[in-house]
Structure formats: C-alpha cells, structure tokens
C-alpha cells in the first residue's frame, strides 16, 4: 500500500521505520514509553503518510493539517513519525531526552518544530483542537485538525466538554483519534473509567464514530479516508484498538504495563526483530 505522497515506500515500511526511530530514542535513555510508540506506529504511518497535508520543511505552513498531541508522553512516537516525514532530522535521535534537546520526553510546542501544542496535562488537547477548528473555519482555511488522545484521557471530564462543543459547532474539520490500548498508569483502562463501549459514546454525543483495529493498515486507511470525506457536518472520531509493543513479539508477549521495562541488551534485539522483518 503506497502512500499518497507518491513515494513507493509502503505504509508498512513507514510504520516499521517509525518503530525503529522510536526504539533508537528509547535506547538513548534506556527507557521511554516504547509500548505506546510501538502500538501507535501504524496509526502515525497513516496520518503522516496518507491522511495529512503538510510541508516537511515548513512546519508552520498555513495550509497544513494540524496534528495536536494531547498525550505528551507519546512524544517519542510523534518524533519518530516526524523524523520519518523529514520534519525533524534523524541525527537528533541521539539527543532524545537529553539536556538542551529539541526532543524532550514530554511533547511541548516551544521545543520542537512540528509539535503544535504542549501536551501532558491530559484532557486539554481536544478543547484546544475545538478552538483551532473554529479558527480555521473563521479564516476559510480547509485544513483539518487531528487530535491524538488516549483511552485514559477519556476519563478527564474536560474531554467531554470538548466532545459536546465540537458537535455544537458542527466541526467537520476535526478528527479525533483515540488510541485504545486499554492500558493506563495504574492498570487496564476498562477497569478504571471506561466500562462502556467507546465509539457508541461518541456516536451518542453526535460524532461520526468509527472503531478499527489500530494495527491493521488497510482498516486504518479506510477509516481515515472515511473520516476526511464524511459528508455530514459533524466531528469525526476514530477509536483505534491498538496493541502495546506491537511489532516486537517478545515485548508484545511481556506482561504489559503503562511503562514497559526493557533490559539494556533488549533494545538491540528489538531493533533486530524489525530489521529482520524488513528484510523478509
């Protein structure tokens, strides 16, 4: 499946490269939210190499689709996607999380080209996205605002204020992407504050809601296409059921936690798994 930029690099290859960049960053620190990064890599391959319009060398281009990362700790994944997209240089991987780096461990707008908002205080991204979507409409700018939020973040009441607001203002230029990996800091999201089905909730609020396997590239492409072209004047959400650590089977098999422990020698092993897969 080739991406829309006309490149002959497949989305699967992009996803693998994103995983690889993320693993190399985590290796720098010997830690990181690698479980989330590996899980969301397929989604980011589709956003950055299929769905979104942007100019890699001009991160503030007025015509770009905006990508708002609520979940600051997923920065490692977005940096990886932006490195793959040419927005950030690959050479800065070695600076991840270091003093004076442009790649801090939690994503912040003032540090990193292409990082649109400061995330980390969960429950804010969708509200900011509502305002940006209103602003784009006011300017007659046809760009979309994407907001990547997490399943745990849906516990924040402010997210639901934004959910209602987006419907009230008929924000058909807003696409929320929920990473549902069923893992938040203290355990499974389903055991915390998410007993009821996600997509049904959003639909009940008035969103055009889709739920997909977030590690199925074809399903993701179809869902993002449908989200962008859906004709009704309503905001759109794609609930992506993802698997933590996806793509590195020995980590996938590990008892999954919010912060996956990886032993020092395992980073290289994980990279080798990806390279082996690429070589096949």
């Amino acid at each position: 499946m080739a991406d829309r930029t006309g490149s002959n690099v497949s989305l699967a290859q992009r996803a693998r490269a994103i995983r690889r960049h993320a693993l190399r960053m985590a290796q720098v620190q010997g830690q990181g939210y690698i479980g989330q990064a590996l899980g969301i890599a397929d989604v980011l391959a589709v956003t950055h190499f299929h769905a979104m319009r942007y100019r890699p060398g001009e991160p503030e281009w007025e015509g770009r689709d905006r990508f708002y990362l609520s979940i600051g700790h997923y920065a490692i994944a977005l940096y990886a996607a932006m490195i793959e997209a040419g927005i950030l240089p690959e050479s800065e991987i070695a600076t991840y999380g270091m003093d004076d780096s442009r790649l801090p461990m939690s994503g912040m707008a003032s540090y990193t080209p292409g990082m649109e908002i400061t995330g980390g205080s969960l429950g804010q991204g969708l509200g900011i996205a509502v305002g940006a979507a209103l602003g784009l409409k006011r300017k007659g700018n046809p760009a979309f605002v994407y907001n990547l939020l997490s399943d745990g973040e849906l516990g924040e009441g402010s997210t639901w204020e934004a959910v209602m607001s987006a419907v009230q203002w008929q924000l058909d230029n807003l696409i929320a992407v929920v990473d549902f990996n069923n893992q938040q800091a203290d355990g499974p999201t389903r055991d915390a504050l998410a007993r009821t089905p996600e997509a049904a909730k959003w639909q009940a609020f008035g969103w055009y809601a889709q739920e997909v396997d977030g590690n199925d590239m074809a399903a993701l492409v179809a869902a993002f296409d449908a989200a962008r072209t859906h004709p009704a004047p309503q905001p759109r959400v794609i609930v992506c059921n993802t698997k933590m650590c996806k793509g590195v089977p020995f980590l996938e098999a590990r008892e999954i936690t919010h912060f996956v422990r990886v032993e020092p020698e395992e980073w290289q092993r994980a990279l080798a798994v990806l390279d082996e897969e690429a070589g096949q």
Partner: protein, 347 residues
C-alpha cells in the same frame, strides 16, 4: 472596626440558631451586585462597550463566554458581533482551551466567566494551554474578590493568589469604568495572556477627574500626601481616595498609589514611593490578605531593603459570609468607614 483584617471578624453563627429580620438590615445584593450605590456617576457595561470599539478596528478580536455573557457584559459584544461571539456553554475548561486554539490560529480571544470559575476550575487550562505557550488570550472575569453577596461559591477572594504564581500571565485589576475601558484596549495590544478582573453593570466613574490614564504595567500616584501612602488596586482605590478625604479632615495627609497591574508589578514606582520617609504604607486590596498585592508589595520592599511601617487592608483568610454587599464590605474592612477607622487606629 479595628485591626483590619486580622482578628475582629466573628466566625459564622450556627445555622441552627433561628434569626429575626434585622431592623435596618440591608437587602441581599444577590449575585450580580454592581458598585453603583456609591452616589457617583456611572457608566454601563464599560468592558462590553470597549470591546465593541476594539472589534470595530481589529478583525482578530473574538469573544467567548461560558454561559455568563450577560453577567460579564460580554453580551454587548455578542449582540453587536454575533458572528464573532462563541457561546461555549457552561464549560469553562473547553472555553479556555478553545480560546487557546483560536489564539493559535491568529485570533485575539476575550474569554469571560466569573473569576471563581476561571481561577479555581480552569486553572490548569489557563496554565498549560494558554500561559505556557504565551498565547494572547484575554481572560476577563466578573465578581472578583468580594463583589457579590452570594457566598464563597461566587466570591473570588483568592483569584490573584492563584494566578500570581503563573509565569507569563499579566494580571490587571482596574478601579473604575474609564480604567476598565482603557485597560481593555491595552490588554488587547499586549502580546501575551492576561487575566483582568471585571467590574460589570453600572460601574462608577472615579479616576477621570484626577486626569488619570491607564498604562499597562504602571503604578501611578493619584494623590500625594505626607502621612500615609495607600497602595491600592481595583475598586479599593476608590475607597482609599474617599478615606483620604475623610482623613484629611482629621489632619491626616494621605497619598494614593494606584496599582492596577498586579503582575508584572511596577516595583520601581512602588519602591520609590515607599522609600519616601515618614509615611505609613497601607496596601488595600479587594482580595484575601494572602498572596495578593499586599504580600507582593511587602516581599518586594523586603527584598529591596526598604523597611517601612506596613499594614494590609484586605479580606480575611476565611470563607466569607453571604449577605448584602455594603454590609459585607463593612464587616470585612473594605468600606470607606472601615478603612478610615483602621488607618486612624494605626497612626
């Protein structure tokens, strides 16, 4: 009324002791009290009118409210510019987040609610979505300090204490109608985020006769005097000006330094005035004595090595009573009579 603000206030009576209507007791001023019972000229909705004037000149001005446009004077703007007004519903968190988003797209949003809701409920959104990114969102809030008799749910007695610790946020506390209008223009021109305390409805017109003009970030001497230096913000400047007249009749010569910008504080002017010898420095503010202008001035003078007799007039560290605003102002030491008595007791 002595020793304001510490000590003199009785705690609330037991809710189980029955009450009789007090003879001569003031009617409750309920939620949307105006400061119009001062026997002064007033101007109606100075903020809303000024915002309309601003919007006529600047296309980037938009307004938002969280179901309180009528009570923040935003409704004047909403009626004049309906397509530039966003009614965000009773949802302060998304209102302020969305204001950040609009600012990101090049607009200058004025967002209104009550001061309690902005400061207590939406603080993190103001901190991270707005201030941390230095976005030009203007948060304009009614019912600052003790300007409603509705009780603690609506009395923002600690809003400045909450916001003063937030880097990059400018804090403005205007005194009257003219200053509110001038400040509205000035904060729109300021490139960063601003929190402004609003006086709404019929707002007294006081400072015009002193030839005063608001300048963002500047404290200005409105009246000079040899015995007492009042340092005041918000409507307390009108109270201390009146108290100064009364004290003058008793031979006490009072200066008034009006400090409408609480942050950044005009420390140069405050230090220079405080350092003039022989004056008692009295900071008067419509805010708890904790974390507001009084402590800001005290700390700065200490840091600067300026040691002067110093007193605070402000609200006590308590959840305040419900009741009629004039009653409460007197009870908590903000009335002209209370200010006058307090200063006399300190001389």
């Amino acid at each position: 009324m002595t020793d304001v603000p510490f000590g003199a206030h009785s705690r609330r009576k037991s809710k189980y002791s029955p009450r009789e209507p007090a003879s001569g007791g003031a009617r409750t001023s309920a939620m949307i009290a105006s400061l119009d019972a001062e026997g002064r000229e007033t101007v109606t909705a100075p903020f809303g009118t000024a915002l309309c004037d601003l919007a006529a000149r600047r296309d980037d001005i938009v307004g938002l409210s969280a179901d309180l446009s009528k009570y923040t004077d935003m409704h004047v703007f909403a009626a004049r510019y309906p397509d530039r007004f966003y009614q965000m519903g009773m949802a302060e968190q998304v209102m302020l987040s969305a204001a950040a988003g609009l600012a990101r797209e090049g607009f200058t949003p004025f967002a209104t609610t009550y001061a309690v809701f902005a400061s207590r409920r939406a603080y993190d959104f103001i901190a991270m979505a707005i201030a941390e990114e230095n976005l030009p969102v203007k948060i304009c809030c009614a019912l600052p300090g003790l300007t409603t008799g509705y009780g603690p749910s609506h009395q923002a007695t600690e809003d400045i204490a909450i916001f003063r610790g937030l880097p990059g946020l400018t804090i403005v506390d205007p005194c009257d109608a003219v200053e509110t209008a001038q400040a509205t223009q000035a904060i729109a021109d300021h490139p960063g985020p601003v929190y402004m305390r609003l006086l709404r409805g019929k707002v007294p017109d006081v400072l015009g006769r002193y030839g005063y003009e608001f300048r963002l970030g500047r404290a200005q001497v409105i009246r000079d005097g040899a015995d007492v230096l009042f340092v005041s913000s918000g409507f307390m400047t009108m109270r201390v000006l009146d108290a100064a007249e009364r004290l003058a009749a008793d031979g006490v010569d009072c200066a008034v330094l009006h400090v409408p910008t609480i942050k950044p504080l005009d420390v140069a002017t405050i230090r220079a005035e405080a350092a003039k010898s022989g004056r008692l420095v009295v900071v008067a503010e419509n805010h708890t004595v904790i974390g507001g202008l009084g402590e800001a001035v005290a700390a700065d003078l200490m840091r600067a090595g300026i040691h002067v007799p110093f007193r605070q007039i402000g609200l006590p560290d308590e959840f305040l009573d419900a009741g009629a605003l004039p009653t409460l102002h007197h009870q908590y030491g903000l009335s002209v009579e209370a200010v006058t008595a307090a200063v006399k007791s300190w001389l």
